[in-house]
């Protein structure tokens, strides 16, 4: 009965899409597991232990004084891991769904709306980011990189940073009709510079003032700074912490709505 009235699809459609997406991830499940455990080990060891032995400068401090380079860099790496997964899940799966493996059209021929497809893709993306961040955090703990008891909340802020970046990318990738290397461009001229200039390895204030704007507009910088506040109580005015949150929420909201509009329009040809 429910199938014929279309009531359940209207209500649960986004979750059905997510379920489908997660089933699709099984195809590369081993890669997902290997990278989500391997990445934090490699990065935290190389930067937090290796590079840290060369960094004498005290880059930041919490309530109980200066923090180690490992402690400083770990929240940034956590946020970066979230953004990296988000950029994977928001580029090719989006292009595939319209073009190479055009399942979005099949979903839409069933009672699923374009908006629900977008929601489902975001839920699916979150289902990858959240465990990635959780595993990252556990490794951070193992390295002794999280002094504050509130540090675990960084899992959520990093995940949300990933979502914000992911939906922004989706709002663009959903428009791509022909792959002319746009997705490689996103990585090269979007994600990589963001990674380098978002106060990841050194405080943003170390950059000349004319480059600091990159950090201010970078969702990764806002996500990283939030992570630092939570992980070791980094000193910053409360209004700035509020701005980090508001900025990420605003980006996520805009990206989400924009992607929905683009996908609905593209399906209704």
């Amino acid at each position: 009965m429910s199938a014929s009235t279309g009531f359940k699809p209207r209500r649960w459609g986004s979750w059905y899409v997510a379920e489908h997406r997660i089933r699709g991830m099984r195809a590369y499940l081993q890669t997902i597991i290997a990278t989500s455990i391997g990445n934090p080990l490699v990065y935290l060891f190389a930067l937090g232990v290796g590079l840290a032995s060369l960094v004498d400068a005290q880059l930041d401090s919490g309530p109980s004084g200066a923090v180690s380079y490992l402690t400083f860099v770990a929240p940034a790496l956590l946020a970066t891991a979230a953004v990296t997964v988000a950029s994977e899940e928001s580029t090719y799966p989006m292009m595939m769904g319209f073009k190479w493996n055009p399942i979005f059209y099949a979903m839409n021929a069933a009672p699923i709306s374009g908006k629900q497809i977008v929601n489902g893709m975001i839920i699916g993306m979150t289902a990858r980011i959240l465990p990635t961040c959780a595993i990252y955090f556990v490794v951070m703990l193992a390295f002794g990189a999280v002094p504050s008891a509130l540090g675990f909340l960084g899992i959520l802020t990093a995940t949300f940073t990933g979502i914000a970046v992911g939906v922004l990318i989706m709002s663009y990738t959903a428009t791509i009709e022909e792959d002319k290397g746009q997705m490689a461009m996103i990585m090269r001229f979007g994600i990589t510079p963001m990674f380098l200039f978002s106060g990841t390895f050194f405080p943003l204030t170390q950059l000349p003032i004319f480059l600091q704007w990159i950090g201010w507009i970078s969702p990764l910088w806002h996500g990283t700074e939030l992570g630092r506040v939570l992980a070791y109580g980094a000193a910053e005015p409360i209004w700035l912490t509020v701005i980090h949150v508001l900025y990420l929420v605003a980006l996520a909201f805009l990206g989400w709505k924009r992607t929905q509009t683009v996908v609905e329009r593209r399906l209704n040809k």
Binding site: S2, A3, S4, T5, G6, F7, K8, P9, R10, W12, G13, Y16, E19, H20, R23, G24, A27, N101, P102, I103, Y105, A106, M107, N108, A109, A110, P111, I112, S113, L267, N268, K269
Partner: protein, 308 residues
């Protein structure tokens, strides 16, 4: 007569200046097998997307199962099965999983969709391929899987866009057999095709469409009766002589069509026309007599052949 399941009136779709579907009107009765026959670019697929409640019409009215797709799209789609022109199976999933995820889109429980998937694999003669990757299936198998997927919600109407295009003759016949069974079970079928034999095999009634408009409507037999003769004699004199000979024999038969490679002589008695040619001393390179088909109807109505 029962209420129609589809009623289209003045249905129009424009893309900026281009008019893809130009005010077509038709009705489809429950249990009927209804076809849209026309060449590529006639507006068949656009019509199908409007019937499938995924493409918004520019003007006209459309009623599907008593609902207007403009505001009840998901409800309508929950009662339809759709087989698109291009297979859009999920190649990342295995055969059976494709049916499972699709059933979930209609709100079916995991338990009921599993049972349904096995039934449909049986129907599509794919039970032994349940765990295969979609990529490893042949074209005909993919098509059958797409049809099985479209049946997962026991649709009231099955929409098929060019169901057998690109398949080899054997695969086409298997598919026709499956579709014929659905028809026998009372499923309403709406299909587009540019193959006249397919239209003749499957359709109770059809409309001939060209350039977004309906040229004629009726059963295959009545369309042939109305727009063509009983038989057709096809003669070939070689591409450089066909036109010249056609002028000579203009008085033969009911009507003559000259195609680049052959001359078609429409007549109630094809053999009698061939005998007349013989009496005139004209010796075609090849000749044959056949029954009129929908291809002839289309040629008569539009001056063009279906596959160009």
């Amino acid at each position: 007569m029962p209420a129609p399941v589809i009623t289209a009136s003045g249905l129009t779709k424009k893309y900026k200046e281009f008019v893809a579907v130009d005010g077509i009107s038709f009705e489809v009765a429950p249990g009927e097998s209804f076809g849209l026959l026309g060449p590529n670019g006639a507006g068949k697929s656009t019509t199908m997307r409007m019937l499938g409640a995924v493409s918004t019409r520019t003007s006209g009215t459309l009623d599907i199962l008593g609902l207007d797709p403009n505001d009840r799209g998901p409800e309508i789609r929950s009662m339809l099965g759709v087989v698109p022109q291009q297979d859009n199976l999920d190649q990342e999933l295995r055969v059976r999983d494709n049916l499972i995820v699709y059933g979930r889109y209609f709100g079916m429980s995991r338990a009921s969709v599993g049972k349904k998937a096995d039934e449909l694999l049986e129907f599509a003669q794919l039970s032994d391929r349940a765990k295969a990757k979609v990529d490893d299936l042949s074209g005909g198998m993919k098509r059958r899987l797409t049809i099985a997927r479209a049946l997962v919600n026991d649709p009231k109407i099955l929409l098929l866009d060019e169901p057998t295009t690109g398949l080899d003759p054997q695969a086409r016949h298997i598919l026709w057999d499956r579709l014929f069974r659905l028809k026998e079970q009372g499923t309403t079928l709406v299909l587009t095709t540019h193959y006249m034999d397919e239209a003749e095999q499957l359709c109770d009634r059809l409309v001939v469409v060209d350039k977004g408009a309906i040229m004629a409507e009726g059963s295959p037999a009545s369309l042939i009766r109305e727009h063509s003769s009983r038989e057709v004699a096809e003669v070939r004199f070689g591409s450089d002589r066909n036109a010249g000979v056609a002028e000579q024999i203009a008085s033969i038969g009911d009507r003559i069509e000259v195609l680049p490679d052959r001359i078609l002589i429409y007549s109630a008695d094809g053999d009698a026309e061939l005998a007349k040619l013989d009496a005139m001393g004209l010796k075609p390179i090849t000749s044959l007599v056949r029954r009129s088909s929908l291809e002839d109807v289309f040629l008569r109505l539009t001056g063009r052949t279906l596959i160009e």
